[in-house]
């Protein structure tokens, strides 16, 4: 039933071991948190899973259907190929198409599923109009889920921060993923917004039949919705477990608070 199976992946940047022998198996429908102190290598893991970086060792297997074992290796594929296979992501430092409208941001993500080609687009064949209408409608539906459909004609850069984060998730969903990687989705949100986002993430997981892996620093969110948590420090997994196990794990506490700090003092 595994959707993703990363087998001891490592990456070295000019002598620096950013991530070492990282293992991760995601079951279908799981919501897993990836946490760790700054610089632990969390985003690097995302970048390897999405093809931005090629791991220097190990293998990443993906299984779109989520049934049986993951078998297809995605190492060496380009990011767009991996997205087309069914892994979508958001970015830590929001990467929206800033000067385009909210609607276009989402419609662009539908592109690889569009059935007409450039020539048919130039000639404006009936298929062009049909497809345009259909993706516009689908994009609006997605925006509605995130409650930003009222702003579809605004430029993405003019949205408030929290809504930009939501738009990024909506855009990722438009690629019709099976596995969604969220990189600090709640960064910059206030507690109320974070709370709403938590529900939204659970909701889209059920609605779109997703498996979700998220990086987050906000512990209320991570502890609140993740079923399983993986803790990274200095590029190595130091703990895996349920939220309650993780919050008591001495190695995790040490990684976050440092050596010799008395907890509860």
């Amino acid at each position: 039933m595994a959707v993703l199976d990363a087998k001891s992946i490592s990456i070295v940047f000019g002598g620096l071991k950013a991530v070492t022998n990282f293992d991760l198996k995601l079951e279908k429908g799981e919501l897993v948190g990836l946490i760790g102190p700054n610089g632990a290598g969390k985003t690097t893991v995302f970048n390897m899973l999405t093809g931005v970086y090629n791991p220097t060792g190990g293998d990443i297997l993906f299984n779109k259907a989520g049934e049986g074992a993951a078998t297809k290796s995605i190492v060496g594929l380009k990011p767009f190929q991996i997205t087309q296979l069914g892994i979508a992501r958001t970015f830590q430092n929001i990467r929206l198409f800033k000067d385009l409208s909210v609607l276009d941001n989402v419609r662009i993500a539908f592109h690889f599923g569009v059935k007409y080609n450039a020539l048919q687009g130039i000639l404006r064949t009936p298929l062009f109009f049909k497809e345009e209408e259909s993706i516009t409608e689908k994009a609006r539906d997605l925006l509605k889920i995130f409650n930003i459909h009222g702003k579809e004609n605004e430029l993405a850069k003019n949205l408030p921060y929290g809504e930009q984060r939501k738009l990024e998730i909506a855009r990722a969903l438009a690629t019709n993923p099976k596995l969604l990687l969220l990189d600090e989705p709640a960064a910059g949100m206030n507690p109320q917004e974070t709370h709403d986002l938590m529900h939204l993430i659970s909701f889209i997981r059920d609605k779109f039949d997703l498996t979700i892996l998220l990086i987050e620093h906000d512990m209320s969110l991570v502890m609140g919705i993740c079923e399983r948590i993986v803790v990274l420090d200095y590029g190595q997994t130091i703990a895996v477990g349920t939220p309650s196990q993780i919050s008591k794990d001495p190695k995790v506490i040490k990684a976050y608070l440092g050596e010799g700090v008395e907890t509860g003092a």
Binding site: T83, R95, L100, H111, Y116, G121, T136, T175
Partner: protein, 348 residues
């Protein structure tokens, strides 16, 4: 939705046709004299090449500095096809465009992996290499002495009629280019192209084959620039490698920047404006290029977004506003809008 679609198509057709009839009549009756008619025709060619450059630079975000080289390929191949193979003009122009597209493809493969400034310099390099090749392929191109005797659009012997025909062909090709570029940009592949300009990494992560679309845009740009070059060859009837130097490439960059990178209507307005300004500056003789350079710097310093930024003037909206006075039933979602040539009153 469907009603809008036909309204748009009809409005654009009627606008471009009536503008054509108006201008052709003005040239025919001599109200636009021969000199201005020629200039307007030349402006059309500049608009075609500038639109092609805007596709790669304004919409795809890849600065290309060698479009004069593409124009040269189009010009020489069209001229040679007409003169050596006796192919009629129209197929020859398209063939010239295709040959240029193949050149674009070959040049694009190594260079489009590069970013920003590097791409600019390499395209510049290729532009210069093309020029050097034109000088050295004497048997085919006439070398540095040039290629004489490209047959004109028409040689009826009647100056006025010739001017009208010349103008008509170029106008037709401007419309062709306009339709290609603006329909492309407003389709899903077009949005994919624009997303590359906005953020290459995000675009890639949204499942868009970034290298493919860069290539596509570059090749298409070369194709259209080649068509512009073919028309240029027929327009002047004489070719010489000096006509396609680095400064000419810069001219097109200036037009695109002046009009607004990523604005089709901006390019049209700036292309026409530039052609005229360049003519007026001739009275300054040698000072012309100094003024030209100073203008370029001033635009960048004080007016960096150009005339239009990435905005467009929508003919359809203007027509609705002034002729039908109805409350726009909304079309804004399918992105903005097509463009037309004469609506300068809408510029703000």
């Amino acid at each position: 939705m469907k009603k809008n679609r036909f309204f748009n198509a009809i409005t654009l057709t009627v606008t471009s046709a009536s503008l054509y009839i108006l201008l052709a009549l003005l040239i025919f009756t001599g109200i636009i004299d021969e000199y201005n008619g020629q200039l307007l025709t030349l402006a059309g060619i500049y608009v075609i090449v500038s639109l092609s450059l805007n596709l790669i630079t304004g919409f795809t975000g890849q600065l290309a500095l060698g479009h004069a080289g593409f124009m040269a390929v189009g010009a020489y191949s069209t001229a040679i096809i007409i003169m050596r193979l006796n192919v009629p003009m129209i197929p020859a122009v398209f063939a010239g465009g295709l040959i240029t597209a193949i050149f674009g493809l070959l040049i694009g493969i190594p260079t489009l992996r590069l970013r920003g400034d590097y791409l600019a310099i390499t395209t510049l390099g290729f532009g210069e290499i093309i020029r050097v090749i034109m000088v050295n392929l004497e048997g085919l191109t006439g070398g540095a002495a040039g290629l004489k005797g490209v047959p004109p659009f028409s040689d009826s012997g009647d100056f006025i009629l010739d001017a009208v025909i010349k103008f008509s062909w170029v106008y037709g090709f401007v419309i062709f280019t306009l339709v290609v570029v603006s329909n492309l940009i407003k389709s899903s592949p077009g949005r994919a192209i624009i997303s590359i300009r906005e953020d290459e990494i995000a675009s890639n992560s949204m499942g868009i084959n970034v290298p493919y679309y860069k290539m596509f845009s570059f090749t298409m740009s070369a194709f259209l620039a080649g068509i512009g070059g073919g028309l240029y060859a027929i327009y002047f009837g004489y070719l010489n490698p000096q006509m396609f130097g680095f400064l000419n490439s810069v001219n097109f960059v200036v037009i695109v920047v002046l009009g607004g990178m990523g604005s089709i209507t901006g390019t049209i307005l700036a292309g026409i404006g530039f052609t005229y300004i360049q003519e007026w500056l001739r009275i300054f003789k040698d000072f012309r290029l100094v003024i030209f350079g100073l203008a370029l710097i001033s635009v960048m310093l004080f007016w960096p977004k150009g005339l239009m930024g990435t905005n467009e003037i929508s003919v359809v909206k203007l027509v609705r506003k002034y002729f039908f006075k109805n409350k726009n039933s909304d079309n804004s979602s399918s992105g903005s809008p097509a463009s037309g040539e004469s609506q300068s009153e809408g510029v703000r």
